[in-house]
Symmetry: C2
Subunit: 209 residues, 2 copies
DNA sequence: GCAGTAATTAATCAAGTGTATAATTTCAAA
DNA sequence: TTTGAAATTATACACTTGATTAATTACTGC
């Protein structure tokens, strides 16, 4: 009986593969289904190897969460493009409520991880980082947007708008990704843009370009 | 060596105790920590007993989710009180962004359960029921609110407003419950009420009474 | 008070978990 | 071609999990 053949991979590649396999497992089987063996199988590797790249399973899962959140925010932020602030904000909003950001698989992974934040300090820290990044991005954009329009842009007002806008985007993202409702007849992008404009006191027609 | 003493309980009481113990376990230890033994310990009972009241662990967890969501919505809806529609809507909003609805423990349980919805059909159904109930409640209140004010209350407009409002409330609820940000200096209730009024085209001063 | 029934406990099982380690294989350098 | 170090596999272990069953206990009705 002969051993299975294998070939070596650079450290970065193997880590990426293991993380990707972890996210796939979580998406399809839930966090409980992301066992060491399941992940190893999906990565085309034996379970023992995981321990060479991650001290333990907890670290692997935390690493998977970090890259997941980072990618998610990066994808959303990529929708900004460049141009005047209100255009960049509109881009961010559009990206946030359409695939691949707003998507069932994405939501599943997010929810599975979020569920651990309260009972797992390592996950809590990984979460805080990513959340803060998105929050800062919105606050920055809102501030620029208000200044651009010459309206009152006090720090307090910016913060209030950022809180509300962040909540609206989170909520819409969840609603859409969840897929429970039938959004086929409504234009979710337009709803998101118009609502944002209304909240910020901008003319909707202008905001949605 | 003598057995531990015990006393019998009506079926409904035992079921409630087991469900409560399950929710406590989930809140403190995450879903993975809600093992049969942990739940039994918290309920002051031996593991075997669970099977007498719930066919298997999956059923227990699903039952816990159903009562959790039902209680949550009931608590939020209780904030409505009676009176004109816009007052009831304001009450619902206030209840949604303050304890015990907006609360870390509540969010932890919610998130843990949500994370299973995609990979577990039983949980998916339990989720759909509860979510639909809250969604209908908001849609109903928004409709009444618009008609009360004599403005356009087409089914389409009501639906749009309900989508946005539902998202806003979900998002605010998550933000506040998460506890990541410092909300000590901002009045979240006022923010929620003003934003809602703005979105619905109502005078904020009047809406927040 | 007594008997019978149903609730509850206690003990056990097989399966699956994360982890550890020794045996192998690959690959690059000499 | 050979050698040596590092990556990978294979195997095993101790533990936890959900489930099952028989023995015991508490309570109800007589």
């Amino acid at each position: 009986m002969t051993r299975r053949t294998f070939h070596r991979e650079p450290e970065a590649v193997r880590q990426n593969d293991l993380i990707a396999a972890t996210l796939d497992s979580v998406a399809e089987l839930g966090l409980a289904g992301a066992t060491v063996r399941e992940v190893a199988n999906r990565a085309g590797v034996t379970p023992g190897l995981i321990r060479r790249y991650f001290d333990n399973k907890e670290r692997l899962v935390a690493a998977a969460y970090r890259t997941f959140i980072a990618d998610l925010i990066e994808t959303a932020a990529a929708g900004c493009g460049d141009g005047p602030a209100h255009r960049r904000l509109a881009g961010l909003i559009r990206a946030s409520v359409t695939p691949p950001v707003a998507d069932g698989r994405t939501l599943s992974i997010w929810a599975a991880f979020i569920g651990t934040v309260n009972s797992d300090p390592v996950m809590a820290e990984a979460h805080r980082e990513g959340y803060q990044a998105f929050r800062d991005l919105i606050e920055h954009l809102v501030g620029e947007c208000l200044r651009e329009r010459g309206t009152d842009a006090s720090q307090q007002l910016i913060r209030r708008h950022a809180i509300v806008l962040n909540a609206l985007l989170d909520g819409l993202w969840i609603e859409i990704s969840m897929g429970g409702d039938d959004f086929s007849s409504v234009d979710v992008v337009r709803i998101a843009l118009d609502s944002t404009a209304t909240l910020l006191g901008i003319d909707p027609a202008e905001f949605r370009e």
